[in-house]
């Protein structure tokens, strides 16, 4: 079992028993009723780290002691004078006041950011003692750079971005970032120019020019997978460009691209402006797929654990609120304005309520067109990495499960969800169904080189 932080009881032996006392994979497997806040996960480890640092200010001494007595003896010795398990739990519960109240959170104005944005006007942040400023940002690369520069304390990111950043892909050096919660599931679509309304079979799309928002995005991977499954080589038969979403609509109008797999509200905006139609919702490709994420630098968890916990609670609460169908209209009204998405309210409402014009003359009713489920499944992260490997972004072999665990903070999200009374899955791994085929995260190899069938 990999740790999120470097193990303070490292070297030969490790101490990974769950805070509930039983020896099993800690956290989610731990029965919710028996040990609600079990002191595992990022926060629990942060506590261990802090204690070990306090006991052994010199790291050489710590290593020497570990080698001499072994971690078990050492922990027993420490626990005789300091309640380590209690500290882990106390820290995991993080009921203390946030160390840092004034936070800056960057977002991109798309409906994927709904929980991050709506938490501001609807006071989810302030309820947890935080004074958050949500800052609209010009693009994904700018979000990445500002997050790395710590101009933002936390940020709205595409789910693959923290994975790529942590692996050092697409950035100068590895930047340890974590997905505290998934922002939205589903909620994307393939939109085509109106002139292609007869070309609904992807096999006819050779020579098409597509746009996606960013190289490290679910949009890119889903489009590539969809094309490949339909016998189109995304690298040879079509052109896929990285284009900011608002420009997708303008480029579609200018006949500069044939379609895009993009975030909402821009699919709906293309319909609203009469330049395109919605070919397929990504929900139909992979129901429950992640899209955007709420990302924090991993240092935040050790440096300001109470702030992290408060932020986590705010986001999980806002996500749960956004997910309820009866709240969707209210949320749409709250975020459509100048200060947030800056879009016509009817466009945002169509996306969130799932009652929408498809651009082909029909009104469709898909209530789960976009969903909000904060749980960061490790299986999602593993699929993302298989696609990074498949399309040449990741040039080396990595331990998928370990990276998934480090980057997707399922334990901490699970704990925040449990505190809200939300059901928490027993394991962060599940078999995903992608375009009708099962993806087993325990055996991902088949998907890294999945053939393009022609």
């Amino acid at each position: 079992m990999a740790r999120i932080f470097s193990n303070p009881f490292s070297a030969e032996s490790r101490l990974d028993a769950c805070g509930c006392g039983a020896v099993h994979a800690p956290g989610l497997a731990c029965d919710a009723a028996n040990a609600p806040a079990d002191g595992t996960g990022a926060l629990g480890e942060a506590a261990e780290l802090a204690v070990m640092k306090a006991v052994f200010p010199e790291d050489a001494t710590r290593r020497a002691m570990l080698r001499l007595f072994g971690a078990g003896t050492l922990v027993a010795a420490i626990e005789s004078v300091f309640p380590l398990a209690t500290a882990r739990e106390a820290m995991a519960q993080a009921t203390g006041a946030p160390e840092k109240r004034d936070l800056k959170i960057g977002f991109i104005p798309i409906t994927c950011a709904t929980p991050i944005i709506m938490a501001h006007p609807m006071n989810f942040y302030s309820r947890h003692g935080l004074n958050v400023e949500v800052i609209r940002t010009a693009g994904w690369a700018v979000i990445r750079d500002r997050a790395i520069a710590r101009e933002y304390d936390a940020a709205h990111m595409l789910a693959p971005m923290p994975v790529a950043m942590s692996l050092g892909v697409g950035v100068g050096q590895p930047q340890p970032f974590a997905v505290a919660a998934i922002e939205n599931i589903n909620g994307q679509a393939i939109t085509l120019a109106t002139k292609h309304r007869e070309k609904r079979n992807p096999r006819d799309w050779k020579g098409f020019r597509f746009a996606v928002p960013f190289d490290f995005s679910m949009h890119n991977y889903l489009l590539r997978h969809y094309l490949a499954e339909n016998g189109i080589d995304p690298d040879r038969d079509v052109q896929i460009r990285s284009v900011p979403p608002p420009e997708m609509v303008a480029n579609l109008r200018a006949d500069n691209i044939d379609g895009f797999l993009g975030p909402d509200p821009f699919n709906q905006r293309a319909v609203f402006d009469g330049v395109g139609f919605i070919h397929i919702l990504t929900k139909e490709l992979w129901d429950g797929h992640p899209c955007c994420a709420f990302a924090v630098p991993r240092a935040m968890i050790t440096d300001t654990p109470n702030t992290f916990a408060a932020l986590m609670r705010s986001i999980v609460e806002a996500t749960a609120y956004s997910n309820k169908p009866e709240n969707r209209r209210e949320v749409a009204q709250a975020i459509a304005g100048q200060n947030y998405l800056n879009q016509p309210p009817t466009v945002v409402e169509q996306v969130l309520t799932g009652t929408f014009a498809d651009g082909l003359g029909r009104v469709q009713r898909v209530p789960d067109r976009i969903g909000f489920d904060p749980f960061p499944w490790h299986s999602m992260a593993i699929w993302i990495m298989t696609q990074m490997r498949r399309w040449g972004q990741l040039q080396r072999d990595v331990d998928y499960a370990q990276v998934a665990e480090q980057v997707f903070l399922a334990l901490d999200a699970g704990r925040a969800m449990r505190d809200q009374g939300l059901p928490v899955p027993a394991s962060p791994m599940r078999i995903e169904t992608i375009m009708g085929k099962p993806f087993d995260p325990a055996n991902p190899a088949a998907w890294t080189e999945r053939a393009i069938r022609t």
């Binding site: 400023e133 609209r136 010009a138 009469g274 200060n339 800056n342 929408f356 014009a357 009104v363």
Partner: protein, 282 residues
């Protein structure tokens, strides 16, 4: 040279051209009526006005833009949260950034230009650097600035700085180098020290050239700030354009273009006044 045209005649021809242009524009974007595809009202309610009639949302005409302009200028300085601030506030942010970058550039460029102008050795030594760096597009510096400075506000000021510095530097050096030999000789016979010569003789003589350099610089700086703010975001008129682009509100973009033009003109005129004040005739 042609005879001087009376102001009112030129003005009336300008107005006439403007009126014709606006009318042609308004006519060109008139929605084509009657071609509306018959769709059910529920569907139509979910679409934009033009799309519901079977077309695409058109370019706004001058009347729509005029209406929006009045709306925006009625309250240009409101602040409703981080991401919603009036157009006046945005222009103020941009002016502040341009001012800061420009002032820094002047502080560096004018003394350095003096040195280069007065010392042929320094001139020859620094020339290759200047020649290589000068043609670099200011925006090409942006990613590097963001990466090294790690602060977007300072990065945009740095970009203004780096694009403003070259015209001022070169013009100052040129102005200083071409001060008349006789005047310098007179100063020498009067036994004026180097600093006294620089301040009392060279500076006044080179002042018009220096101000010309500043005038070129401020023009470039104002050009660049819009692009820089579109890239970095946050505040400023460039970001405002990006934001309206995000919302695909073309009317607001046209207005922003107009505002950028007007402010640029005012900045140029301001330095024109300075140039007039320091000008001298033999």
């Amino acid at each position: 040279m042609a005879a001087k045209v009376p102001f009112w005649r030129a003005a009336s021809v300008s107005l006439l051209i403007l009126a014709v242009l606006l009318m042609a524009w308004e006519y060109a974007v008139l929605p084509v009526a009657g071609s509306g595809a018959a769709v059910d009202p529920e569907y139509a309610a979910l679409l934009g006005q033009a799309a519901a009639q079977g077309g695409t949302t058109p370019m706004p005409g001058p009347s729509a833009i005029g209406k929006r302009l009045v709306e925006l200028l009625a309250d240009p300085f409101y602040v409703r949260g981080t991401n919603d601030q009036g157009i006046g506030v945005q222009i103020a942010y941009s002016l502040l950034r341009v001012g800061a970058g420009f002032a820094l550039a002047a502080i560096v460029a004018i003394p350095l230009g003096f040195l280069i102008g007065m010392s042929p050795l320094l001139n020859a030594a620094l020339n290759p650097f200047i020649q290589v760096l000068r043609p670099v597009s200011p925006l090409a510096w942006m990613p590097l600035a963001l990466y090294t400075i790690k602060d977007s506000a300072i990065s945009s000021i740095f970009v203004i700085f780096i694009c403003s510095i070259w015209p001022m530097l070169l013009n100052t050096a040129f102005g200083v180098a071409s001060v008349r030999r006789e005047w310098l000789n007179v100063a020498r016979t009067l036994e004026a020290g180097t600093s006294k010569t620089a301040i009392r003789v060279i500076l006044p003589a080179a002042a018009p050239t220096i101000v010309t350099g500043m005038r070129i610089s401020i023009g470039i700086a104002w050009l660049v700030i819009v692009a820089a703010e579109m890239l970095v975001g946050g505040t400023g008129i460039g970001y405002w354009v990006w934001n309206q682009w995000n919302n695909l509100s073309i009317a607001d973009i046209v207005i922003a273009i107009l505002m950028i033009g007007v402010v640029g003109l005012l900045l140029d005129r301001l330095l024109g006044l300075v140039a007039h004040a320091v000008a001298w005739r033999e």
